[in-house]
Every structure is written in C-alpha cells, then in structure tokens.
C-alpha cells in the first residue's frame, strides 16, 4: 500500500491560493474554516518563501495520540482521518498539532468549539465511500474514486505534490538535481521524522 504524503516545493509556490480555494469549494468547507492555507515567510523581503500547508497526515500522529475519545484512525494509505460522530470538540488535537490543522466551527455556546474539521486528504471519513452523509461531514472522497487531493492536482506550478511518499520524494529529488537548488520538503521532518536529502 502507498503511504500518502503532501510535499510543497517552496521554490515553486507563487502564493496564488488556488489550493486553498479549490479545497474550500470541493468540500464545501464552512465559512471561517480553512483546511489548507498558504503561509508566506519573510513577505516582501529577500529570501521570501511561500508554503502551502494543511494536515500533513503525520506518522505517529500527535492529534490521534492526545485525543481523549480516540476518534482518529489511520487508513491503509497512511491518511489520518477522524470521526465527527465521536469527536467532542475539546481542542486537544489543536494543542498537539505542529501544523495548526484542526479547526473548530464556532457553533457551541459563547462561540465554543464544535466538532473538529481538518484536511481529509480528500479521503472522506468513516461513513460509506461517496455517501451523502460522508460528503456532508467530511467533503468529497476523491481517493475512493482513484483521484488524488484536488489542491495538489490543480496546482498551477506543480509546487504542491500529493501521492505516495516515495514517488513524490523522487520527483522532488529530480527537480532539485535538474535546477541545482531546493529549500527542502517543508514540514517533513516534523511530520514524518525524515526529510529528503538533496
């Protein structure tokens, strides 16, 4: 089985935010929640870099480890998903997550946390693949249709890569070889305890 990962080639990201928009539209993500965002570091200064970031679907995921009700599970593809039926909206996964992926709709009283929402790697949730319930809670299940996450599929500069970790690492390595530079696979060391040597 594949081990699905995201890789953002920061030397190619032009901060167009198309991945952010595509994600919101594909899954009809509620107002105020962003499963993916583009962060620009050193904005307007020399050495500026933009990185598109969502849930990295970590190895030994911290969110799953700290969840008080154990609502997370990892699929055979290495995708970290959760059950909104089990989630109690406590906020613990958000404290533990290195990438700020978990988001909470402010639906509770005093604007307190509702059930957590995060990137599903376009792989839905525990409900039947492609079902109406699954779409309403988690959005589209593209993986079940044999498609990769939409954010990466439609990235105009092919900066954002999604797919089996070894394959996208190989693609990235070849790019670095060819162009002679690369600022590395952002977040990989934190998420997967390994990085791509280039």
């Amino acid at each position: 089985m594949a081990r699905m990962k995201f890789l953002c080639d920061a030397d190619r990201c032009i901060e167009c935010n198309a991945c952010v928009t595509a994600c919101k539209n594909e899954h009809e993500v509620p107002w105020g929640i962003n499963r993916r965002r583009v962060v620009t570091i050193n904005d307007g200064k020399p050495g500026e870099r933009s990185i598109s970031m969502a849930c990295m679907h970590c190895t030994d995921a911290p969110c799953a480890a700290v969840c008080p009700v154990n609502c997370f599970y990892t699929t055979a593809d290495g995708v970290v998903l959760h059950s909104k039926d089990l989630c109690i909206g406590c906020g613990y996964c958000f404290y533990a997550c290195p990438f700020g992926a978990p988001q909470y709709p402010k639906v509770g009283n005093f604007g307190s946390r509702g059930k957590m929402d995060k990137c599903t790697y376009c792989a839905g949730g525990p409900e039947a693949d492609g079902s109406k319930e699954e779409y309403e809670k988690y959005g589209a299940n593209r993986l079940a249709e044999g498609k990769l996450p939409l954010c990466a599929e439609m990235c105009s500069t092919k900066s954002l890569l999604a797919g089996d970790g070894e394959i996208i690492a190989q693609i990235y390595k070849e790019r670095v070889m060819k162009r002679g530079y690369g600022s590395g696979a952002w977040g990989w060391k934190t998420a997967y305890r390994e990085t791509i040597e280039s």
């Binding site: 962060v39 620009t40 570091i41 050193n42 700020g100």
Partner: protein, 333 residues
C-alpha cells in the same frame, strides 16, 4: 559643465564594468535564487516555530509550524497521568492506611448534648454549591485524562463519546457557579484564615490527628487554613486557565494554551487529591465534624476539643449558656 558630464559617464561605465566582472562567474554556472532563502531547520532552531503572513482572514493560521506540541503531547499522555495517578491513588492509600490504623477521631468527652452554630445557612449554601460543582468538574476532568485508557475499553467508542460530550458540557457550564463559589469562599472566610502563631503550635503537634492531643485553634485550624488556601489559590488558577482554554484565542495564543492546559491539569489533580483528604476528615475521619456543614451546628464538646479558642471567643460574645439543646435524635446517639 562638460567635464562634470564626462565624470558621470566615466563613473557609469566603471560601474557597468564592475558589474560585468562580478556577474561573469555567476552566469557561468547555474543561478541559485535560494541562496538567501529562509531555511526551515534554521527557523525552527531559532524560534521553535515558523510564522508568516496569510492572505485569508484567519490571521492565526499564519503559524506554519509549532513542533512544541510534541512536548505538550508527552506531558498530556505520560507526565500528567503519572502525576495525577500518584497524587490521587497515593492520597486514597494514605487515607485507607490511616483509617485502618488510627480510625475515626472520636469525641473524647462524648457529646454534651448542647450545640453551637458553626456555619450559617449562607456559608453552607456556598460550600455545597462549590462542592457539588467541584465533584462534577473533577469527574468530567479526570475523564479527559484517564477515560481513554480506563473507561473507553469497558463501554466502547459510542457510549464513551456520548458520555464525554455531556461531561464536557457539564465541565464548561459548571465552571461558572464553581468560580462564583470560590470567590465567595475567599471573601466570606478570609477573616479566619490568615495564618498566625497558633497555627505553628498546631502544626508542630501534628494537629492532634495522632494520639489524643488537642492543640488549641481559633475558628479554623492550620489544616483547615491549608484547605482554604488550596481552594482559593488552586480554584483561582484552574478558573483562569480553564477560561483561557474554553475561549480559545480570546486571551492567548497556542503556546499559552498549552501552558494553560498544563497548569490547569496539574493543579486540578493535586486539588482533587487534597479534596479527597478534606472529604475524609469531614465525614468518616472525625466524629462530629460533618454536622458543621450538615446542620451547621456542632456539639460544644467537639468545639472545645478541636477549636477551643474559637469556642472561648463565641462564649465571650454570646454568654456562656448559649449552647442549645440538641434534637432528641442526635442526643440519643
């Protein structure tokens, strides 16, 4: 004028030549536009977090990476469970051993049949409001830390989630009456809870818990003062940190929320351990103690043995024969 122009032209060509010379080696090999680019590992080493600008309205999502969540995870899953487990089970173990070896602290002189008012209606209402909230808060809080390894395997995912969801609501809502209770306790009993010289003697004599010693005490002895300050300071800390967690980002950022959770949970488990001790002494640990918070009136002999200086004060205030006859049921004991 013409010479000035010539100088300018000369300077320009010199500059152009210099640029050409400098650019030559660079164009000979590939240009590396990332030479001055930010490096992930360098940023993490410097600040232990990476932050930038986002163009979406949620500015908090500008934090790209904050790996210190890993330390928080270690605390939440390992450290806290050890500290909480040792504090609470340790306290229960001490109480069981103490009860089996020393047993209930009896009234040495027996009951006098006369009582004296110790806590009025308002004081008892505040105490029980705070206490009942505390018990629900403690159970629902311990569920977050210990429920997953202990309760979830017994009742299954759905039932445990359902229960935890209600426990979370209870935890959030009952925090308000609990906080009001702590504030009222602070205000109404502060007068009797300032440590003084009598407490030193009381503490040196072990509070009279072992043996038949009865060191003098005013309305609150050193042990009760300790409970008072645990409630006031501990309660204050869990309230402040709890609200920081309940209203995310109103007061604090993510690191401060991790810190708030650490303070909240550590203070809470120690608080629970202290209250288990408090409940023991107030019920089966000491004869005649529960009445103080039950009916509000204690036996005069109880007051003499445990709070002699307070009894003297009360007598001086109200006259020596103010003790009321106890109800027949209590006197028959």
């Amino acid at each position: 004028m013409a010479s000035f122009e010539r100088i300018i032209r000369l300077a320009f060509s010199a500059c152009a030549l210099l640029l050409l010379v400098m650019a030559a080696p660079a164009s000979a090999q590939q240009v590396n536009p990332t030479a001055s680019a930010v490096k992930e590992q360098q940023l993490l080493q410097e600040l232990n977090r990476i932050q930038g600008r986002v163009s979406i309205p949620d500015q908090r999502s500008g934090v790209l990476e904050q790996p210190q969540g890993r330390e928080w995870r270690e605390f939440r899953n390992v450290t806290l469970r050890w500290v909480g487990g040792i504090a609470i089970l340790g306290m229960i173990a001490i109480i069981v051993i103490f009860y089996l070896t020393v047993g209930m602290v009896r009234l040495q002189a027996g009951r006098s049949g006369r009582t004296i008012v110790r806590f009025n209606m308002f004081e008892r209402f505040v105490h029980w409001m705070t206490a009942s909230c505390f018990i629900v808060l403690a159970i629902s809080g311990l569920n977050i830390t210990f429920g997953r390894p202990l309760l979830l395997p017994l009742i299954g995912f759905e039932a445990f989630s359902e229960w935890s969801q209600w426990a979370k609501y209870a935890h959030n809502y009952l925090s308000f009456p609990f906080t009001i209770g702590v504030v009222l306790i602070f205000l109404m009993w502060i007068g009797g809870n300032i440590p003084n010289k009598v407490d030193v003697d009381w503490a040196r004599r072990g509070g009279g818990l072992i043996g038949h010693d009865h060191p003098p005490a005013y309305r609150f002895n050193a042990g009760q003062k300790m409970i008072y300050w645990i409630v006031v300071i501990g309660g204050g800390l869990v309230a402040i940190t709890g609200y920081a967690l309940m209203f995310p980002f109103y007061m604090t950022g993510i690191e401060a929320m991790q810190m708030a959770q650490i303070v909240h949970s550590i203070v809470a488990v120690l608080f629970v351990a202290a209250m288990i001790g408090h409940i023991y002494i107030g019920t089966i640990g000491m004869e005649g103690a529960f009445e103080a918070m039950g009916s509000g009136e204690v036996d005069v002999n109880w007051a003499r043995e445990h709070h002699s200086l307070w009894l003297d004060e009360e007598k001086a205030r109200t006259g020596p024969n103010d003790g009321r006859p106890q109800p027949a049921t209590a006197a028959a004991e």
